[in-house]
Symmetry: C2
Subunit: 428 residues, 2 copies
């Protein structure tokens, strides 16, 4: 194949502009590597008039991304609009119906409709690729789908939302509260228009669901991801964790258990000297574990014009080179519908609570844990100035079910005030 | 394609055994992902009788790897014997002549004969893949060739010899001399039969030369890699570096400069809080930098049965799935013959030397640096018990040429005793 690969790009936000820049700047390089030219034929975005700082005059313009998707003169529909319903979904479906390959950066669309879209594309003999949808510039979809293809994957973990990691590390570095850093990040434009997508773990949960599907040969199932955001993390917890040589990260973990597929996106304590613990700011990190490879860690920019466009273009280059691999690593029709397991894998937990300052209070809490079958690794009551005594407990490994039982027993002790904080300690 | 992909495996050492284990254990998984079975048809090794702890009874045996390579009933020749001449080279050439695809873990063979082998294979329309030759289980060849294919690569760096990194970190942790840790590592079987391959930087240099070729579109040129081993690193340098918040690593760096392609494999100081600085023990790390992606860091096991076999099998899975990408990312015939540049990129240097304890000695050294056009960032003379005064200097950025001039001027000062230590400080 030496004919040009012809692209239609839907969306000219940060990522779309980045793609155009790469093709304009590195065109000769792309051609020498792919063995054929990569050409932009047509683009689509909301406003034709907006100055994006790039020259679009050589490309046809479509107001409607669906019309772009159907054009006879494109081979690949590149979807970098975003949104899991509406135009992005309509245009992606139209592209598949029209027999185009699709390269998408749209994690929400794929996490929610990926199974149906992949089945439809594969039915037609076409591919959907989504490297840019997970962890920005890190080629993690490729590493998992292809590089580690001979492994039985045992666990996938990752810090996959740079905004959350920025907030957590900034809280620690500057000694600020969650709300202060949240407001700061929001003002700087670091958060999505709906910030809950970031801080609620939804965006990162979409990414985890996509990696899970590849890792375990299961249908992508975002609804089964147990989500917990970072909104309840306090500077106090960050400091106490640091004091015990841990960092708090919004960590995604997926693993296949005897009881089904466990997918969690929640704040976790990780050792501060581990690669995950050392991850600062907006950088992403994904940890892939397999029976043969043991552990591979990938680190890089999780967002931004260049990195995300690099990932999109990696997929485009694969298509240009004739690579045809199923969207989720095996034909979508063969993906299993896995049972969802909730926190089936036991772990130690970090607990912080306030006790009324009365003799025997600590003993009652310890007894409640014992009754739930949970043993205590470390327990510490620390200095206080009012009538409540702050207490820190690190448990030995326990199940989430047992922990929930203990938390409910705490209520009836009459000595725990407010809601205890419980954060899983993940072995990384 | 649903017909089996038939392998002939030459070499049944650690890696060969690992490949057999993966195929025997994960056969169903491989088939579901590749869409076809992966079968071992025949194997070859020096001794048929040796007990390797695996069942080989289902495979044909060849005493001669060349005969294995030519068998009509294999599609892919898997070369995990090692050695850059002799049987490994003969058999690889035979496989190419016979029209087989080749998967190789042989860094020396490819770093020295890669260009000729790739041209021969591509002439026949076949591929040579070598993920396992670089950084063990880390899918770095794939990340660079495919994932970052749209980037102009600006720099490739890496710690790619686990034995050297083990020695350097063990020296620091245990406070032992190079020779003590070398002997220990050798006794534990951590080093190659010819340890100079490890500690002389040759093995890591082979890997760097392979990555350079992909990164910069140049013919693999191992002879142009500036090699310096770790044999001259002292515990004193490790301690002084740590005191200034640096670690000493055997670091490979390749970058294209205005004066040509610079490839270095040498001890460097890197910030101790950087991912490279934090790398402990036998783990490998590769840093890939490109104009769009900025920086991606990959970390994982650089050797061992499972990880290396995982990399070999990743290549096998690609071939099974119909992926056909040129060995070095573009047709071998189109790779440029780059001019070699020696340390063209300026850097600060760490210098340690002994001065005779006389008034004016330090001034003479400072003057020699000034005459070579090198300015001093930090200089420290520290406590001593004999007639020689140890001095540490960190220079501002300078070229290697200027540094060499300064080192030669030191000799004529008459105040520097012994040979000064000079280690580059790499910005990572």
């Amino acid at each position: 194949m030496t004919s040009p690969l012809r692209l239609g790009i839907a969306g000219l936000g940060t990522v779309g502009v980045g793609i155009v820049r790469i093709i304009q700047k590195n065109g000769a390089l792309l051609e020498s590597r792919a063995g054929r030219p990569i050409e932009i034929v047509a683009v689509s975005a909301r406003s034709k008039e907006k100055d994006r700082g790039i020259d679009l005059s050589a490309y046809a313009w479509e107001d409607d991304p669906v019309a772009l998707a159907k054009r006879d003169d494109i081979d690949v529909f590149v979807e970098v609009m975003g949104g899991h319903e509406g135009p992005a979904k309509d245009a992606t479906e139209a592209a598949i119906s029209a027999g185009k390959d699709v390269v998408s950066a749209n994690k929400a669309l794929l996490a929610i409709h990926g199974q149906a879209l992949a089945e439809a594309a594969e039915e037609k003999g076409h591919v959907i690729r989504f490297e840019a949808a997970v962890a920005g510039g890190i080629p993690v979809v490729k590493a998992l789908t292809e590089g580690l293809a001979a492994n039985e994957i045992t666990r996938v973990m990752g810090v996959m939302n740079g905004s959350c990691n920025y907030i957590l590390t900034r809280m620690e570095d500057a000694g600020l509260s969650y709300q202060e850093v949240f407001d700061e990040a929001n003002a700087l434009g670091y958060l999505e228009a709906d910030p809950e997508l970031d801080v609620g773990g939804i965006d990162a949960g979409h990414k985890l669901a996509l990696l899970s599907s590849i890792a375990f040969g299961t249908q992508v199932d975002f609804d089964a991801v147990e989500l917990e955001g970072i909104g309840s993390i306090t500077i106090e917890d960050i400091r106490q964790a640091a004091d015990m040589d841990y960092k708090i990260k919004l960590l995604g973990v997926a693993q296949m258990t005897g009881r089904g597929l466990e997918q969690r996106m929640s704040p976790c304590l990780v050792p501060d000297r581990s690669p995950l613990g050392q991850l600062q700011g907006g950088t992403n990190m994904v940890v892939l574990e397999g029976d043969a490879v043991t552990q591979v860690v990938l680190r890089g920019p999780g967002a931004g014009e260049g990195p995300t466009a690099s990932a999109v273009m990696g997929d485009v280059m694969d298509i240009a080179r004739g690579v045809r691999i199923s969207t989720f690593g095996q034909p979508a029709k063969t993906l299993r519908n896995a049972r969802a397991a909730r926190a089936a894998v036991p772990a130690p937990y970090y607990l912080r609570m306030q006790l009324v300052d009365k003799p025997g209070a600590l003993a009652k809490v310890a007894a409640a844990l014992g009754e739930a079958g949970i043993s205590i690794d470390r327990m510490r009551q620390y200095g206080h100035e009012d009538t409540n005594a702050p207490v820190l407990i690190v448990t030995h490994k326990t199940t989430r079910t047992a922990l929930d039982e203990a938390l409910s027993r705490f209520e009836s002790t009459g000595v725990v005030t407010g809601t205890p904080v419980a954060i899983r300690i993940e072995a990384v």
